[in-house]
Symmetry: C2
Subunit: 144 residues, 2 copies
């Protein structure tokens, strides 16, 4: 939609810790490699951006609309109790938006997922299969 960013590179930590659900020239939608929660991460493909307000208002609005729609579809897919949406970035500074399905009784309910305990990794095949299922479920029309 905005043209392929020539200089955007996915942060190495995000790359190492996730499976790709979908990516195009606008954004990457990732699955966090942590079986404890259905935990998605939307990364705008825009170089050198840390804060939502570093984007133009138009782009920030687009990405938040994507994140909101992703949350709606993730709630439908999982039947979860509550969606958590957050742009934090204290550790990984590249702008990324968390979209997480939370349930009563999940490992840290009702506390936050960030910084809690140890990740439980998918096997490679499990992660790839879960990402493929989510790709079918998360039809976000704003993706180009």
């Amino acid at each position: 939609m905005f043209g392929l960013s020539k200089t955007f590179e996915l942060d190495p930590r995000l790359k190492a810790d996730t499976f790709v659900i979908r990516e195009d020239e606008t954004a990457c939608l990732l699955l966090m490699n942590d079986k404890r929660w259905p935990w998605l991460i939307l990364v705008p493909r825009v170089a050198d951006v840390e804060e939502l307000h570093d984007l133009s208002a138009q782009r920030a609005g687009l990405y938040m609309q994507m994140a909101t729609k992703t949350g709606e579809l993730l709630k439908a897919e999982t039947g979860c109790e509550k969606i958590n949406i957050a742009a934090i970035g204290n550790m990984v500074r590249q702008l990324h938006i968390h979209i997480i399905a939370r349930d009563v009784g999940d490992p840290n309910w009702p506390g936050p997922v960030w910084g809690f305990g140890e990740r439980q990794l998918y096997s490679g095949a499990e992660g790839i299969a879960r990402a493929a299922d989510l790709k079918k479920a998360i039809h976000v029309p704003l993706f180009s």
Copy 2:
């Protein structure tokens, strides 16, 4: 902007735990009563809404634009290292958006603020004065 909601009532817990920075018929901007962090909360004045996706796309976009602009101005006011923006709502279900100024070395940096330790309360006068300063600094033009 959307007309005064006749049925909206601020959640009692949000009311008890905050000072009012500004409120009008569109939204309430609140200061969390916790001196550990400059911690603002934006509450859309829309009754019976829990998730961002429960709002129309237009309203969700408006409120996220408000939250983003609030974050930009809060970063300018505080000189903080990073803004955290989040709609969580696992405990208080009324839709509200956190906008928090974070700094290297703050009480739980780089971990999240939610669920961490005990709040450190402002005195009533301190909280009112801080909210008044923030009202001057946070000129969010989208407020009606």
